[in-house]
């Protein structure tokens, strides 16, 4: 078959650029980069037909470390950039990568509306419960009693943000949680997320070894979620609301809402017809 013959085989390294990451040795984001490139190889997507969009943060540096098209925008606005790109260019596979601060603090509104709008994007959030890039402040997912930041020396005292629950409540069409300590599983879930139509949300527990050294323990704490994927968002949300955050490795929800995709119909209309309406 022609399409098979055309389908070139790619290796994960074909999706990596030559740039050396600025990340700290041991940062969880290295394996996320690996998992993404592995997933792209598995999907055998030509690099030029993939785009990775991000905001600002350590995790948001991913685009330049890949060899696909990348867009490194401003802090918190990756989702609208990706939304515009995907709507204008439905032929591209568009991934969005970023951190918990970028996505849920400054970017929280776009997160809500991206879930609602359900554009066919895959959003991979490297959650380290901290602002790594600005040297260690509390993020929305930080526990209220974490005292490691000079800005909140007695802890934030506020409720951590639950990305997957809010994602479900706002309409995300695919929800999964994975751990950066298992890149093979992560790659597999990313493959599923990309394949699933609509807005797919993948939360990655990705330790910040520098500002949250205690997160090194995550690799031992995480366990494979025992529940199976559901298509009942209310059920999935309820499960997650009472979950401790360390059940990983599974797709937790798959919905079937059709993606938002306004048509660029190449209708017969011409600019002249538009102008005719003004003529006297």
């Amino acid at each position: 078959m022609e399409s098979c013959a055309q389908k070139k085989k790619y290796a994960a390294k074909d999706y990596k650029s030559d740039l050396k990451p600025i990340w700290c040795p041991g940062c969880g984001d290295y394996t996320v980069l690996n998992a993404i490139t592995r997933a792209l190889a598995e999907l055998a997507l030509p690099p030029e037909e993939v785009a990775v969009v991000s905001g600002i943060g350590c995790s948001s540096r991913i685009p330049a470390y890949t060899s696909v098209y990348g867009f490194h925008g401003v802090h918190g606005r990756a989702l609208p950039v990706a939304t515009g790109l995907k709507l204008a260019r439905p032929d591209l596979t568009v991934l969005v990568t970023g951190g918990d601060g970028d996505g849920f603090s400054i970017g929280g509104n776009h997160f809500l509306h991206a879930c609602r709008r359900n554009v066919d994007l895959t959003y991979i959030v490297m959650d380290n419960q901290v602002y790594g890039m600005t040297k260690g402040q509390a993020s929305p997912t930080t526990a209220p009693d974490w005292e490691g930041s000079k800005l909140t020396p007695e802890g934030t005292g506020i409720n951590p943000f639950q990305p997957l629950v809010v994602g479900l409540a706002s309409g995300a069409n695919f929800v999964a949680r994975v751990s950066s300590s298992d890149p093979v599983n992560m790659a597999q879930i990313i493959v599923e997320a990309i394949r699933h139509p609509g807005f797919s949300l993948v939360q990655v527990l990705s330790p910040c070894v520098t500002f949250r050294p205690e997160q090194a323990e995550w690799r031992d704490i995480v366990r494979t979620a025992v529940v199976d994927v559901t298509d009942d968002a209310a059920r999935a949300a309820r499960r997650l609301m009472t979950d401790d955050g360390f059940n990983v490795g599974k797709v937790l929800y798959k919905g079937s809402r059709p993606p938002f995709r306004p048509e660029f119909e190449n209708t017969s209309g011409s600019v002249a017809e538009l102008e005719a309406r003004f003529a006297l």
Binding site: A51, G70, V81, G84, P262
Partner: protein, 578 residues
């Protein structure tokens, strides 16, 4: 020759059909072969409340209202006094009210206009289904010389679906008004024009703006509604759909600007429209588009500021934010439309500039021109179609440089999907490849390149509109921009008719500045007046910053929402020449 025109206002409270009446009159005037301009004003209520339609008719194109109105036809008086500042009435003006609604409010009588009564309600009541606003229209038509046939055609068109009886009732009320006008004092009349001398359009500034960007090639729009820009979007949404484009309503302005950045990065020319508060929210991401070199167009339909200000009224006070608002040194393009029709030219040109230079282009229009409807000569076809310098194929053995330092400053842009040219576009300072860099040399090279591409571009003659008095420029100039151009043109015309010499320079390309072209335009000019609608004289300050102005340069500025009448500008010219 000085414009021969008639200016009138129809006013009344919510239910009185003032706006409908104004629109009918505009269309009828178009049928009569006239040119026209219609603006509207209304009270703070969301719906209903007092409203006024300000109209001016002429036998040749007009771009401004006059200094005062010949006629105010008030269907009732409720709260109409609130419009007094917007409706200058002088001793020769005629103010006509319905005795059923009592006397005219004192606020309207400051200029001592002539007063007359027209029993619109009583007359209308005598006609089955007759309405006072049609009586008013009849009287107006008779007063200003509008042929009844012109109105007949309009009414037939509008009430087609309601049947012949409705048409007859309306026209009966209209004719009753025509008859009743015989008892009213005279106002200036316009001659009827047999057949229009040239094809004409009826269009608002906001519609022209929408059409301009579509003509320029924009096919993706994301936006968040805001007065007075919403009509640009409302026109665009269905229109884009007809030409294979899309409009997306975003969750806020931060989203809309970033959505269009994404779409444009994807290769589809993109724009958004907003007003001051929304533009403020887009500032950070406009800087991103500068640094990442993503072409896009942002239209700011200006309203009265600061902050939420007065959403429904006009001011030219977003010049500063448009030119200087971005953090860091962030060269970009700012253009401004100078009339309802010029919204079309300027926005189409803006798309062309944005695409050619891979940079965000801001277009300044305002509520006054955006929401005004005008009968204008059919706009010319324009050759400006957004055309991006793209990189289409990899060069063997060379890594693609997205931000290559070129002589023109423009770097060929690879559109996603192009094999071999993958790269990451970045808002961090970067080297030629797009790799983040904190080296002073990379910063300098990219800063130079980003500013060079704007300064070296050939903007042709479009940077300004320059008009001389019939007798030549002499040594006087009016320098202006945007909506103030209309009254400035008319001031020049009157000055010229009186034998004066002067030059009008209306700047369309606000940034980057054009010092050489301005110097040429100012050759021989020793005195200039800078005209603008802002409290602090923003345009005057900007001109001082970047241009060498004649030693005797004065700033004629006033805050919105009241527009300059041509008279205020003429005064300055006369003062100089006397």
């Amino acid at each position: 020759m000085t414009v021969q025109s008639v200016s009138l206002v129809i006013a009344g409270s919510g239910g009185a059909g003032v706006v409908t009446a104004g629109s009918l009159l505009l269309e009828a005037a178009a049928n009569a072969g006239w040119y026209a301009l219609m603006s509207r004003s209304s009270g703070p209520q969301i719906r209903g409340g007092e409203a006024a339609a300000m109209l001016r008719f002429a036998t040749e194109p007009i771009m401004s209202h006059d200094d005062s109105f010949h006629l105010l036809m008030a269907i009732d008086w409720e709260n109409i006094g609130r419009f007094s500042a917007e409706i200058p009435l002088i001793a020769t003006s005629l103010i006509v009210g319905d005795p059923a609604h009592g006397p005219a409010p004192a606020a309207l009588l400051g200029g001592k206009p002539r007063e007359a009564a027209l029993a619109m309600t009583a007359i209308a009541e005598k006609i089955e289904s007759g309405r006072p606003n049609m009586v008013a229209l009849g009287a107006i038509a008779a007063l200003i010389g509008l042929p009844p046939e012109a109105m007949q055609a309009v009414v037939e068109q509008h009430l087609k679906r309601k049947g012949q009886a409705a048409i007859d009732a309306s026209m009966a009320a209209f004719h009753a008004g025509v008859t009743a006008a015989a008892d009213l004092p005279a106002t200036p009349k316009l001659p009827a024009v047999a057949a229009a001398s040239e094809p004409r359009w009826s269009i608002t500034g906001n519609e022209a703006t929408g059409l301009g960007v579509i003509r320029g090639g924009v096919r993706f729009v994301a936006a968040y509604p805001i007065t007075p820009a919403t009509e640009v979007l409302e026109w665009l949404a269905p229109s884009l759909a007809k030409v294979g484009g899309v409009l997306v309503q975003a969750e806020d302005e931060l989203a809309s600007i970033n959505q269009i950045i994404g779409a444009s990065y994807g290769g589809v020319p993109a724009m958004t429209a907003t007003s001051g508060p929304g533009l403020s929210l887009m500032i950070e991401s406009l800087g991103l588009a500068v640094a990442a070199e993503v072409p896009l167009v942002v239209v700011d339909v200006m309203r009265v500021g600061p902050s939420t200000g007065i959403a429904t009224k006009s001011e030219q006070s977003d010049l500063n934010i448009a030119v200087y608002g971005l953090h860091g040194d962030a060269p970009h393009i700012v253009v401004a439309a100078n009339s309802v029709a010029d919204c079309l030219f300027t926005t189409q040109w803006a798309v062309h500039l944005a695409e050619a230079m891979q940079t965000p282009t801001l277009v300044l229009t305002d509520q006054a021109m955006g929401q005004a409807r005008a009968i204008v000569p059919r706009p010319a076809e324009l050759a400006f179609i957004g055309q991006r310098l793209t990189a289409t194929a990899a060069v063997e053995g060379e890594r693609y440089k997205r931000y290559a330092v070129t002589a023109s400053g423009v770097s060929p842009m690879a559109i996603p999907g192009t094999a071999g040219l993958t790269h990451t576009a970045d808002g961090l300072e970067h080297n030629e490849f797009g790799t983040p860099s904190s080296q002073a040399s990379d910063h300098q090279a990219q800063m130079d390149k980003r500013s060079r591409k704007l300064t070296q571009f050939n903007y042709g003659d479009h940077w300004a509109e320059i008009i001389d008095a019939d007798a030549g420029p002499g040594d006087l100039a009016i320098i202006t921009w945007g909506s103030s151009t209309g009254p400035a043109r008319e001031a020049l015309r009157r000055f010229s008719d009186a034998g004066g010499k002067a030059r009008l320079i209306s700047v369309r390309l606000i940034a980057p500045v054009q010092p050489e072209k301005m110097a040429a335009a100012l050759a021989g000019i020793t005195r200039a007046v800078v005209v603008e609608q802002s409290h602090s004289g923003q345009f005057y300050r900007m001109l001082r910053a970047f241009y060498d102005l004649p030693k005797d340069t004065r700033s004629l500025h006033q805050a919105g929402p009241l527009a300059f009448g041509p008279g205020r500008i003429l005064e300055q010219l006369n003062a100089w020449s006397s």
